[in-house]
């Protein structure tokens, strides 16, 4: 069909563009334009109703002067640096363990995926119960095992870890992607390695990991961006940023600044700075591991 494409009458081409129209136009209006205008909004004073007034870098100066905003940036970074590696490692270990085509393994995979499809609000309520310091199942299990219990959401140090723990059970997406990646690796490579007398450990480091590398990098980048945003519902419902701002992450604070204080300009500036930091983190990471094309040695 491809070589004949130029023979097609233009009418068919026009019809195809009409089919594309709702998606293209809708996405540009609802995603592309808002993303660009948010950047512009960061340089204005805008209360959401009156005409935005150009204010130059004022919002960025206010941002830097505000201890709460700086704290929320720091908290978000800590959250990302803790959650993303654990989530990725968990998804990878589970994918390696459960990739087999064997009896019962379909059920195991479905079980791992299950927490990922629970609605955010319901998921937050479940963990509110699990983390309850007096009656929550988590502390009871810990006590029964003779392990130290904790205040979880009541304590500034453990609250952030509790949010990280919650995030580590919703790893279904990365898990499926990595299983698909593992099943794409040609079996012949492992057979050749066995013939050459390679140990399982060597095969993992020399075959599995390099071939899985692009998938892992892609997931890491995506997880860095998504983790931040996915922290909104848990922090809104479980802690509302507390105790003592310990779980005040950027999305919750931006929500407060824009929709409670009607300071859309400052909120936009916080978003812009956050995504600049994340972009810098991602570029640094990609450079540190040698770029996207490391798999090309195969």
């Amino acid at each position: 069909m491809k070589p004949l494409a130029w023979l097609r009458p233009p009418a068919y081409r026009t019809q195809l563009w009409l089919l594309l129209l709702p998606y293209l136009l809708g996405t540009i209006v609802l995603v592309g334009v808002p993303a660009l205008f948010t950047v512009g909004m960061a340089f204005t004073e805008f209360n959401g109703v009156a005409r935005p007034q150009w204010s130059g870098l004022t919002n960025f100066q206010r941002l830097w002067a505000s201890p709460v905003i700086r704290l929320s940036l720091r908290n978000s970074l800590i959250f990302i640096l803790a959650a993303v590696p654990i989530r990725l490692l968990a998804a990878l270990s589970l994918a390696l363990l459960l990739q087999r085509r064997e009896r019962l393994f379909g059920y195991y995979r479905a079980a791992i995926y299950l927490p990922t499809i629970i609605p955010e609000a319901a998921y937050a309520l479940i963990w509110l119960w699990i983390f309850n310091p007096f009656y929550g199942p988590l502390n009871m299990v810990l006590a029964a095992l003779g392990l130290p219990t904790s205040d979880w959401l009541g304590n500034a140090n453990s609250a952030i870890m509790a949010i990280v723990l919650m995030a580590c059970f919703q790893i279904g997406e990365g898990f499926i992607v990595l299983i698909a990646g593992l099943q794409n690796i040609p079996r012949a490579l492992y057979e050749a390695a066995t013939v050459d007398g390679a140990s399982p450990w060597q095969a993992f480091w020399r075959i599995t990991l390099p071939l899985l590398f692009p998938w892992l990098l892609l997931l890491t980048v995506r997880d860095i961006v998504m983790s931040l945003q996915n922290s909104f519902a848990p922090t809104y419902i479980l802690t509302y940023g507390g105790p003592y701002y310990a779980t005040t992450f950027v999305p919750l604070l931006v929500y407060e600044i824009a929709f409670d204080l009607f300071d859309f300009g400052l909120a936009a500036a916080v978003m812009v700075v956050t995504y600049l930091i994340l972009g810098w983190l991602i570029v640094g990471l990609v450079n540190a591991v040698g770029g996207w094309r490391r798999d090309s040695e195969f």
Binding site: L19, A111, L114, A121, A122, Y123, L228
Partner: protein, 277 residues
Amino acid sequence: MKYQLPRLARHLLAGGASLLFLLPVYWMFVSALRAPGLPPPRTVEWWPADPHWGNYATLFTLLPMGRYLRNSLLVVAAATPLTLLTASWAGFALSQLPQPARGRLINLSVAFLLIPASAVWLFRFQLLRWFGLLDTLWGLIIPAIAASSPLFVLLYFWSFRRVPGELIEAARLDGAEVGQLWWRVAMPLVRPTTIAVAILTFVLYWSDFISPVLYIYRARWYTLPVGLQLIRQLDSTNWPLLLAAAALMTTPILLLFFVLQRTFLSNQSLSNLFDRS
């Protein structure tokens, strides 16, 4: 893979991990059955001595849960078919367009996919206000016109690309219009993708917590996730009730997965997960 743990160790590890991941959901359903007013359990309760199903009914008397449920159903009932329509249109058009237009549009879609939702909150609020869609269910449904997510368009594109080109070429020579090609020839061949996109869209809109929090103010148009948040504020120590609300919201999604899982099996991209063999 050639290298493996002994069979028993494999199943113990895999089974243990599965149980760990099932635990939060199990605790939700079990704790939702505890009679209200009883003191909370002193040890982990694996099954309530006297299961109390009345918590689910209490939910509907305490808050207008029926209305929130109706609003949530309205949103998914409008958004899911709309998404299937626009995503499959766009995916089909992409698969038919020649290069380089196709490649450019796919790159654009991937770029859109990387823009996080939180980066567009602030301006989308203004857009909805200008369109007069703020504080209406349409404000929640409107992303469906744009296929909800570029991911769904790409899923359709990948599926349509596997449809043999001669099939479409032949139908075109018989004088079929683009709409007929899409509906009569292409769509029947990608049914598993349609089901997968339908489930993913349903979950997306059913679970959406941020949009109603940002864009809905009148209690009339609250959806279930907001209802859950209200119950937590209203009666934050009534655990059985809170968990019954969570279970109420989770059950439709679980049912959907169990019912449609068999169809999932025939989808290449998703079958890995639910494969029984």
